[in-house]
């Protein structure tokens, strides 16, 4: 089955990219907005000074002895002093006739209503800001218009703008950096519930199909709801099939027991040797079938109990001793000895029914795959971890299959002439996993299999 998801893009990257892209656009916009505003303000500043200067010059215009005169006040040029030592040009006209100043500096057309007009233009190879304003002088019997053009280079303005541009750029950059940090943080915060959910899904045990109860953000609620309902259905169908197996096994076992008792009774009454032999085979087959049914039942029971482990303090050595006692008659039939080794008491908190089941299957296997007359060694230890080891003197596991033998209904090559269902090791492993432990299969150097149930 394919477990890797088909990945197309990343939510996190998409989010970060969108946020950072937006921030970049905003920062650039901010830069230009601040700069163009500053340009306006700075230009207005220069315009105001130019206007004040030209106004003071116009104010100094007067008739004297019938002649229009403009006595430029010292302050008019003084106020035009700038840190960049901007150059100043002016021209005074009377009714469009040049009076004094720079005669190549023309007048700008005035705005309607005699309002002063401003213009940035080229003059003497540099860019200047020029203002033109006028004033009408009214004398005793005459009327004349004094017009003044005043221009100033824009070096100081350019310096100011440079500085403002630098500051605006810094502002934009700062804003951008902040926005990037924020967007990464925001993305992280948005994505983290998702990764938390992923984490809790990944960390679940294989049998855990209970619903997720941890709170999740609103947007993830539908996902979790459908996940929960999916798992609910899964759980239900699993337990249904398990129930079914258990029911089926049970139903098979009871009639099998009846058939077996009939067969035994008949065996006692049959005298002919070949018939007795047939009857014996029949009883053996019935035994194996009921054993397989028993194992199926056990497996279903273990799957169920694994979710609701009923741990209690117990002595593992005691438990093993009990088991050996019960299995000794079977072992005797095959002339096998069961030896208990290891520590005297090993206390452990576990589910006794499950542990018993697992160990019985392990010992069963050892007996099944051991040659007659062999010895089976069972040892219990508590260090470094609590573990029970069952070793025999049989042929051992086929090494190339060792990885897969614990899977359900899987049997080894060496199991061809033995009867079994392929569930024994599965049960042992399920029990180990339910207790947070594991099962290890290996072959002993001196021959024989060795199964370790560590808890």
């Amino acid at each position: 089955m394919q477990t890797d998801a088909v990945v197309s893009g990343s939510l996190r990257n998409r989010l970060v990219l969108i946020l950072i892209g937006g921030a970049a656009v905003l920062a650039i916009f901010l830069f230009f907005a601040v700069r163009s505003y500053a340009v306006q303000v700075a230009q207005r500043g220069q315009d105001n000074i130019l206007l004040a200067s030209v106004t003071s010059m116009l104010d100094a215009a007067a008739f004297r002895d019938g002649v229009a005169e403009v006595d430029i006040p010292y302050a008019a040029f003084s106020m035009l002093n700038t840190p960049a030592d901007d150059r100043v040009f002016y021209a005074i006209y009377q009714d469009d006739t040049f009076l004094s100043g720079y005669n190549d500096l023309g007048l700008l057309g005035e705005n309607q209503g005699g309002q002063p007009s401003f213009q940035t233009r080229d003059y003497r190879d540099t860019s200047v800001r020029e203002v033109t304003a006028s004033r009408t002088l009214i004398g005793a019997d005459q009327r004349t218009e004094i017009q003044i053009a005043l221009a100033q280079t824009q070096d100081a303005l350019a310096d100011t703008l440079d500085q403002i541009s630098r500051n605006a750029a810094l502002l934009g950059l700062g804003f951008f950096a902040l926005a990037v940090a924020l967007s990464i943080w925001a993305t992280q915060a948005t994505i983290s519930p998702l990764s938390r959910l992923t984490n809790s899904v990944t960390r679940r045990g294989p049998q855990d199909l209970s619903p997720f109860t941890k709170p999740v953000p609103q947007e993830m609620a539908p996902l979790v709801t459908s996940l929960n309902s999916l798992m609910g259905r899964l759980d239900q169908s699993l337990s249904q099939s398990e129930d079914f197996i258990a029911e089926a096994a049970h139903r098979v076992r009871t009639p099998l027991a009846t058939v077996r008792s009939y067969a035994e009774a008949t065996l006692l009454r049959v005298n002919k040797e070949e018939n007795r032999e047939a009857m014996r085979s029949m009883v053996k087959a019935i035994d194996e079938s009921s054993r397989a049914a028993g194992q199926l039942l056990d497996h279903a029971m273990i799957t169920f109990r694994a979710d609701h482990l009923e741990r209690e303090e117990l002595d593992l050595v005691d438990l093993v001793r009990d088991l050996i006692l019960r299995l000794t008659p079977v072992a005797d039939m095959k002339d096998l000895t069961l030896d208990l080794r290891g520590e005297d008491t090993v206390t452990y908190a576990g589910d006794p029914i499950l542990l018993q089941n697992a160990l019985r299957n392990m010992i069963d296997n050892a007996m099944k795959y051991s040659p007659a007359d062999g010895a089976i060694e069972i040892s219990v230890r508590s260090e470094p971890v609590v573990a029970v080891t069952v070793s025999d003197q049989g042929p051992g596991f086929p090494l190339d299959e060792i990885e897969t033998l614990t899977a359900r209904f899987t049997r080894g090559r060496n199991a061809d002439n033995t009867i079994g269902s392929g569930l024994g090791l599965t049960i042992a492993q399920d029990v180990a996993t339910a207790h947070g432990g594991e099962i290890t299969l290996r072959n002993r150097e001196e021959g024989g299999a060795c199964v370790i149930l560590s808890l």
């Binding site: 005169e69 403009v70 006595d71 430029i72 006040p73 010292y74 302050a75 008019a76 040029f77 003084s78 035009l80 002093n81 840190p83 960049a84 030592d85 901007d86 150059r87 100043v88 040009f89 005074i92 009076l99 004094s100 100043g101 003497r124 190879d125």
Partner: protein, 332 residues
């Protein structure tokens, strides 16, 4: 043949630019190539040590030093800016206007205090007050005036003593005289009253400080108004019989300025010459320059290098000022 044409051309060139210089001297004439042409209003004897120091360090450069009046300098230079490499003048207003009108080359690597330069193209290198100088013999038995008001009183009281014996710049001819006069008129109304009194005493008008001091020395005049302090001091030190008044009312201080012509063909040499002048005149230079160093002191400070200095150069304003000045001073 070619030689002949060159000769004729050279002759034509020299005659077409024929010019009466107050003084003209070629320093380091041994050096080949074009000489650096310095157009200046400063007397050669006051400036020579600077040039000599410069050519000592730059033996490959010859310097031609051309002296004429401040108003003349302005006219000559505007007419042919390509003929001169460096322009030095005491008329700050004319110099500033030259720079404003784009005749000066901007030198970006000259370190100079902000108040002493304009647009990196006009550089001040001296600080010199306008002085009132009296002949001590003529003032025998009279109190030494401590303000212009005092001087006015004294002149009014003793027309017998001072008639025909007061002198000042003819501001129609001298750019520096005009600068001093306009700045004085801004400082106080007293200026006009003094001018009226001097006009009543049949004032003598001079083109230059040097002439005025000469006449003061030989007793032709008893009071010289607005002489260059540096010239007077140079002569006091040589033991002449006159006194520079220490006035309490106000003092007009000028800065001598230099610029490099925008059309100079010897940019590097002109710039290095200007830098040398600035260095020579800087406060910490340990030499005995006859010119005062550049200093920022006095309560009013020097006339600032800003566009306002050009105000009185406006032709309408100049006309009006000269009319008033003539009204006050020329009464016969």
């Amino acid at each position: 043949m070619r030689y002949l044409i060159a000769l004729i051309l050279g002759f034509l060139a020299s005659t077409s630019f024929a010019q009466e210089w107050e003084d003209q001297r070629l320093f380091n004439d041994g050096a080949g190539g074009d000489a650096l042409r310095v157009l200046s209003s400063t007397d050669t004897n006051l400036f020579a040590p600077l040039i000599e120091a410069y050519v000592a360090e730059n033996p490959d450069t010859a310097v031609e030093y051309l002296v004429t009046g401040t108003a003349d300098i302005d006219g000559l230079f505007r007419e042919a800016p390509e003929r001169f490499d460096v322009v030095i003048s005491s008329a700050m207003d004319l110099q500033l206007k030259l720079a404003n009108d784009g005749f000066a080359l901007a030198l970006d690597d000259v370190a100079h205090p902000e108040w002493a330069e304009w647009r990196n193209s006009l550089f001040a290198f001296t600080t010199e007050p306008a002085a009132i100088v009296i002949n001590t013999a003529a003032f025998e038995g009279l109190p030494v005036p401590s303000s212009r008001q005092d001087l006015i009183g004294l002149l009014r009281d003793r027309p017998d003593l001072f008639a025909g014996r007061v002198g000042t710049y003819d501001i129609r001819r001298s750019g520096l005289g005009y600068l001093f006069a306009t700045q004085d008129s801004r400082a106080s109304e007293t200026y006009w009253r003094l001018m009226e009194v001097m006009g009543g005493l049949d004032v003598r008008l001079y083109c230059c400080s040097g002439d005025m001091i000469d006449d003061l020395t030989d007793g032709t005049i008893a009071v010289a108004y607005n002489v260059l302090g540096s010239y007077a001091e140079a002569r006091v030190e040589s033991g002449e019989r006159f006194k520079i008044l220490d006035l309490s009312d106000f003092e007009t201080t000028m800065m001598r300025t230099a610029l490099v012509s925008k059309e100079t063909t010897q940019v590097a040499e002109a710039a290095s010459f200007l830098r040398a002048v600035i260095a020579y005149q800087s406060d910490d230079a340990s030499n005995a320059s006859p010119l005062p160093t550049l200093a920022q002191d006095g309560d009013r400070g020097a006339i600032p290098l800003d566009p306002a200095t050009m105000t009185f150069l406006d032709s309408l304003k100049r006309k009006k000022f000269l009319e008033e000045w003539e009204d006050a001073l020329i009464q016969n």
